[in-house]
């Protein structure tokens, strides 16, 4: 590839990123303003730059606990979902079994229902098993939509790997466990990276179930933020600061999986 053609193409992602960054810039902008200034008029840069919003967040336990709580159950859920989804996806990809196609589709159906109506039944269910207001509750509850997603994505990537790879490994004498971890998983690294990121992301932003299943101990950051929105009108500056901070953990996750997502499936020697 010569350099000329590469430069032309890059205008597309460049423009897209500019488009994405505009509102984010706006969000950051608001986070350094007071609510009064935000509502007062349009300024590209805070006329009265203030760190008050961020200070409020870092000093108020409710706020930073909110972040910690969210991080806890989201991480737990991501790891659980991906680990459980890997063998299942392998099964769907490599084997036929009784009810497989229906089972797969049933998994997808769990993402189809509007969450609003499940709030009350979930509350009843998790209270009944004594898990109300725990991180585990939310981590488990989010399995409802994250596991199907992880299975779905992983299966898609696994099916792109020719079964000849499995067979060649068996012929070369690899035990299944070694084959799976040393050969198979690296070839679907892109799928794992993407599945992990999406599980993290969907769990991180899920508001309704997280709010319903928690009250104090495990209150997630998203719930804390809605509190600002309703109690004293809109504390916009604070909300903006909180919103800006929520991007950071996800950015770290994507940073760690970026190599997986961009990793090519180099047809290596088996």
């Amino acid at each position: 590839m010569n350099n000329r053609s590469i430069h032309w193409k890059w205008i597309v992602p460049f423009l897209y990123i500019v488009f994405l960054m505009a509102p984010i810039y706006w969000l950051l902008n608001m986070s350094f303003k007071s609510t009064n200034e935000i509502l007062g008029g349009m300024t590209l840069f805070p006329s009265e730059f203030t760190l008050d919003n961020y200070i409020a967040i870092f000093t108020d336990p409710t706020w930073y606990n909110g972040y910690i709580n969210s991080l806890t159950y989201v991480t737990a859920n991501t790891i659980l979902s991906v680990c459980v989804a890997l063998p299942a996806a392998y099964a769907f990809s490599r084997y036929r079994f009784l009810g497989d196609k229906h089972l797969f589709f049933w998994l997808l159906t769990n993402r189809m229902a509007p969450a609003a109506v499940f709030a009350l039944p979930f509350f009843q269910l998790y209270s009944a098993v004594g898990l109300f207001d725990t991180h585990i509750a939310v981590a488990l509850a989010h399995c409802l939509f994250n596991i199907p997603l992880a299975v779905w994505i992983l299966e898609g990537f696994m099916s792109g790997v020719p079964t000849e790879l499995d067979e060649t490994a068996y012929i070369d004498g690899y035990p299944f466990w070694k084959f799976f971890t040393k050969i198979f998983l690296p070839t679907i690294a892109a799928g794992i990276g993407v599945a992990a990121f999406f599980c993290f992301m969907f769990s991180w932003v899920e508001l309704l179930l997280a709010k319903t299943l928690t009250s104090v101990d495990a209150k997630p950051i998203a719930a804390v933020m809605t509190r600002t929105a309703s109690s004293s009108g809109y504390e916009l500056g604070l909300l903006a600061a909180a919103g800006s901070l929520t991007m950071i953990p996800g950015a770290i996750v994507i940073f760690f999986v970026r190599n997986h997502i961009a990793k090519g499936f180099a047809l290596g020697r088996v």
């Binding site: 897209y16 509102p23 589709f105 039944p121 892109a190 993407v194 508001l207 933020m225």
Partner: protein, 288 residues
Amino acid sequence: MSAKKLNNKAWWLVAPVVLLVAFNAVIPLMTVVNYSVQETFGDNLFFFEGMKWFEEVLSSERFHDSLIRQLKFTFIILLIQVPLGVAIALTMPRKGFWASVCLILMAMPLLIPWNVVGAMWNIFALPDIGLLGYTLNAMGFDYNFTRQPVAAWATLITMDVWHWTSLVVLLSYAGLSAIPDAYYQAARIDGANAFKVFRYIQLPKLKRVLTIAILLRFMDSFNIYTEPFVLTGGGPGNTTTLLSLDLVKIALGQFDLGPAAAMSLIYFLIILLFSWVFYTAMTRGEDK
């Protein structure tokens, strides 16, 4: 690809998934079905009403209106987000420092809690205090999304495109990464140009990933609630009242669990039907 092996022991691999998901799905679903066929006069008194709610919902004009608005919305955003997402994934750098930068920046909109997304776009688009609203009006457009249905729709759609296109991008990008180099090398040797490479190698290999992206976006856009609620509240009037918004209005506003539950189920069945048709169509050609 050689045929899959028949092996019912594979159920052991799938069991943990089934258990975890079923635990969360079956019991609550039963509860919802329960509500949908009962009527309450408060105080936890329920009366079995059979299909009454379903009939009422299905025949209501309000429901028809919301449904049509919803279908329009979903159709438009799919039409924009899927090609756009794929195009961006194709043009992004494949490796190196800039690839990481792109991935991280593109992931940002996905990570913001949905109520914040709605709130920030709300301010962003306000004519007098928001960057977008201010700029548009300064350029001569008469733009006020709180009062003009067209502006409200445009803002809603732009917000959704801003928020979710990256999902399509990330999936497509990962899908493209998974294409072995040998295919591109063979295409070079065969003398194929960029368009042919896209049509005969990239697009077919992206089929699975695109199915996931399209279905995901379809489902999620059909269920969308928080962002439009915070952005427009369903207005002006009810011009942007999508299905979910209507549902919550009915359930909360009128305390009618029955119709709400019935509506949710109908709604769920619509998505189920569309998804099933689409899914079957896309996977029809697969070896089984």
